[in-house]
């Protein structure tokens, strides 16, 4: 099921955000990861679908998870020279998550 793959990607995203202490998204993704994990392990189909829908709601414009960046300007623990590459990786994972959810 797509949720299992989405959960794997979500873990990668959370690890990336944790590495640079990129709040508040690190905490937000951690919460979603826990709920998705619970739904996948024990939840009925509707709970799994709910988890997928919740993850889909991350995406949008200004203010959404799509808007999130890892940046020293907001106090994240990242050197300026690393920001472009790290945010490119975040975008790659984000795209992958979206594609997985879209097909779920």
């Amino acid at each position: 099921m797509g949720l299992a793959k989405a959960l794997d990607i979500l873990r990668e995203i959370r690890a990336l955000l944790d590495r640079y202490r990129a709040e508040p998204w690190a905490s937000r993704i951690r919460e979603l990861e826990a709920r998705a994990d619970g739904a996948l392990r024990q939840g009925p189909d509707w709970a799994r679908q709910e988890a997928v829908d919740e993850l889909r709601d991350l995406f949008g414009g200004m203010g959404s998870f799509d808007d999130a960046v890892i940046s020293s300007l907001k106090g994240d623990a990242i050197a300026g020279s690393r920001e472009a590459a790290v945010n490119a990786e975040l975008s790659r994972l984000r795209d992958e998550l979206y594609e997985t959810l879209r097909d779920s």
Binding site: G60, G61, G63, S71, L73, G75
Partner: protein
């Protein structure tokens, strides 16, 4: 094309005038006002300098000018259109206040025919390079509409008003057909990648213009923590204004501050109206790579207007 964009809902330009203000003229100090806030008397063909096209005309005024054949026809037609439109609450050169807010007005006179290119798909039109095969057709059609307006004015002997709705509707159809034509697709830059569909969907009707900045661009955000990939053209005065313009309330963010950012010359940006909002947004795929800088931040007043 137009030098700046005008938001009829906000009743102001959404980009500041690049012309240096005249310290002896208080009106010029507001870099977002149009034509010294007197659009019926003045216009602003370039977006940077106020002109008074009717000041040298005879007492017969605008209607007499419409009968002429000189290069000022478009300008005169526009003045007539604005002055005699049945819509009485014009707020600028582009659209009446009751026009749909998403239909941003592009300044009419900067290209002499844009009276009929008013707005509906100004975003797409603005994205077309000057050598686009669509533009001549659009301008030719616009000329026809201007001529129709002049004929109508002549037929009425200067009494009554042209059908503004019809003119604008026709203008919209012209612009729409230009957007839908295959030629407009080829107008997009071949070197700038298109946005992923989900990002494009954050722009109204999925329409946006991509360009490489020729100079630094000052932009704003309303946010709780700084930095992101979407930026706004207008600095919000309150949290409610930010929500209305940029549709940021959807994601439950705290809107506590208004930072000002600068996107440097050379950066590739994607611009257009906000889906679900009334503002104009700029998307930068990777702000760190583009070199987006923070100029400063101020508290954002809560509540609305």
């Amino acid at each position: 094309m137009g030098a700046r964009w005008y938001d009829p809902y906000l009743k102001q330009w959404i980009q500041p005038d690049t012309a240096v203000a005249d310290l002896t003229d208080p009106q010029s100090l507001n870099r977002y006002s149009y034509a010294d806030n007197n659009p019926l008397r003045y216009n602003d063909p370039t977006g940077h300098d106020v002109e008074c096209p009717g000041c040298d005309a005879s007492d017969a005024g605008v209607l007499a000018e419409l009968g002429g054949t000189g290069g000022g026809e478009a300008e005169a037609a526009w003045n007539y259109f604005v002055s005699y439109s049945p819509v009485t609450d014009w707020e600028g050169p582009g659209l009446p206040a009751n026009f749909r807010p998403e239909e941003l007005a592009q300044e009419p006179a900067s290209a002499p025919y844009v009276i009929a290119g008013v707005a509906v798909d100004a975003v797409a039109v603005a994205a077309m390079p000057e050598d686009s095969p669509v533009l001549p057709a659009l301008r030719a059609a616009s000329e026809g509409l201007i001529a129709e307006g002049a004929e109508e004015a002549g037929a009425r002997g200067g009494v009554g008003a042209p059908d503004a709705d019809q003119l604008l509707s026709s203008a919209g159809q012209v612009a729409q057909s230009a957007v839908e034509s295959p030629a407009s697709e080829s107008a997009a830059s071949e070197t700038i990648p298109q946005l992923a569909p989900r990002i494009a969907e954050t722009f109204q009707n999925g329409e946006y213009a991509a360009r490489q900045l020729q100079s630094d661009l000052t932009v704003y955000r309303a946010e709780g923590v700084q930095m992101g990939r979407w930026f706004g053209a207008v600095r919000p005065d309150s949290a409610a204004m930010a929500e209305r313009m940029y549709n940021v309330a959807t994601f439950g963010n705290d809107l506590t501050q208004v930072p000002t950012y600068v996107i440097p010359e050379g950066a590739v940006v994607y611009e257009g109206l906000v889906e679900g909002g009334t503002g104009w947004q700029t998307f930068v795929p990777n702000p760190a790579e583009a070199g987006v800088g923070l100029l400063g931040a101020e508290p954002l007043p809560q509540g609305g207007f």
